[in-house]
Amino acid sequence: MASIKTISKKYVHDLLEQVTDPEIPVIAITDLGIVRDVLITDNFVEVIITSTYSGCPAMIEIEKNIHHVLKKEGIDKFKITTILSPAWTTEWITEKGNQRLKEYGIAPPNPTNPKNIECPQCGSKNTQLLSEFGSTACKSLRKCKDCLEPFDYFKCH
């Protein structure tokens, strides 16, 4: 349990690394770029988050989990604020986040060449789009023409 003295921005940020996206449980919300800021005034913590897509159903769960993690560490005075602007972009996903997506079998966003997506299973670039819309709002569905496996691609947004 943290004493009041130890509450620093970095401390809270490190705690938030324990919170993952319930639909992609390998990626922390801090690596997904949805934690926009942590403000601390007189030991009152404000966590500022933004949603990926406006209808993302994971947001309610994520808020609950942030609540849970902070409470568990003895932080009682806090609030979670959701902001709309600036709108979330996949550019905010960290290098580590992209790496975790790939290891999990989801091709990370490729802003420089969105038509040339690498299969996360076999590494082939010979892949095709099956559908613009995949298992969640943030992904599209692709297929590898070499290993023939379908896979999710995290869309540039």
Binding site: G55, L84, S85, S131, E132, A137
Partner: protein, 250 residues
């Protein structure tokens, strides 16, 4: 309270909600799995967008109402959505055309809304515009694919055009609320929008080998609460639980 801003916000909230609900009706019934998922994904985006609108409407109203209460306890004549979005799903061609007519509106609408002098509307615009770009690409591709497809798919698109075209113009025809919103700098100039939207529609229709029906008659009224019979049935579904058990949560 700024009554005009409230009405303006509701109009757009209602459009997103009702079309989101219509698309959700396809869940489990799509022609193929990928398109079933596409329609429910778009539905989810629209429901997410309507929540931003309703939350803002609730804060403008300042009566402590929640977004859910605004949705559940208004009758059809208080709904401000355009007639297009409440039209039945029909076959896949009709759903696609309805979506395309709406998406060509919303993608241009949100793009302009980003410059609204109201910060919250500008934020909603920036967030929704990104999503609308996917939607219009999907529905536009399908209009072309079906229109320039087989004899059967082309016939169905022609039938959809005949059915839905008279509902296409209401979206860009400003009512008093929208005129005032534009004058006050927070609303969108629908005349400028119409030009861009019409150009996009024409471009896609030509590629889809489809023609605009000759009749120029256009339905209107939804923005001022005069709806087709369909809206009542949608609301009966949508509002049942809260009407039967007010305030129920789970």
């Amino acid at each position: 309270m700024n009554q005009n801003l409230f009405n303006y916000t509701l109009q757009h909230a209602d459009n997103c909600l009702i079309l989101g609900q219509r698309l959700a009706e396809w869940c489990g019934h799509g022609p193929v799995l990928e398109q079933d998922i596409a329609m429910t994904n778009i539905s989810l985006d629209l429901i997410g967008q309507c929540r931003m609108w309703y939350q803002y409407a609730a804060s403008i109203q300042g009566e402590g109402k929640t977004e859910d209460e605004i949705v559940a306890f208004r009758d059809a004549w208080d709904y401000r959505n355009t007639l297009l979005v409440e039209q039945p799903n029909g076959d896949f061609a009709q759903t696609i055309l309805r979506q395309f007519l709406f998406d060509t509106f919303s993608v241009n609408y949100y793009e302009i809304l980003i410059d609204s002098n109201d910060d919250q509307l500008a934020a909603i615009g920036a967030k929704s515009h990104k999503e609308a770009c996917y939607h219009v690409k999907w529905s536009g591709d399908w209009v072309i694919r079906l229109g320039d497809g087989t004899e059967e798919s082309c016939d169905r698109m022609k039938a959809a055009m005949h059915e839905l075209w008279p509902y296409s113009e209401e979206l860009t025809k400003a009512n008093e609320t929208e005129k005032k919103a534009f004058e006050d700098g927070y609303g969108v100039d629908l005349l400028a929008l119409k030009e861009k939207r019409d150009a996009k529609i024409l471009e896609v229709l030509i590629e889809a080998t489809l023609e605009v029906p000759k009749s120029t008659y256009m339905h209107k009224g939804g923005k001022d609460g005069i709806h087709t019979e369909h809206l009542g049935y949608i609301l009966a579904d949508l509002q049942f639980l809260q009407r039967a058990y007010p305030g129920l949560e789970w």
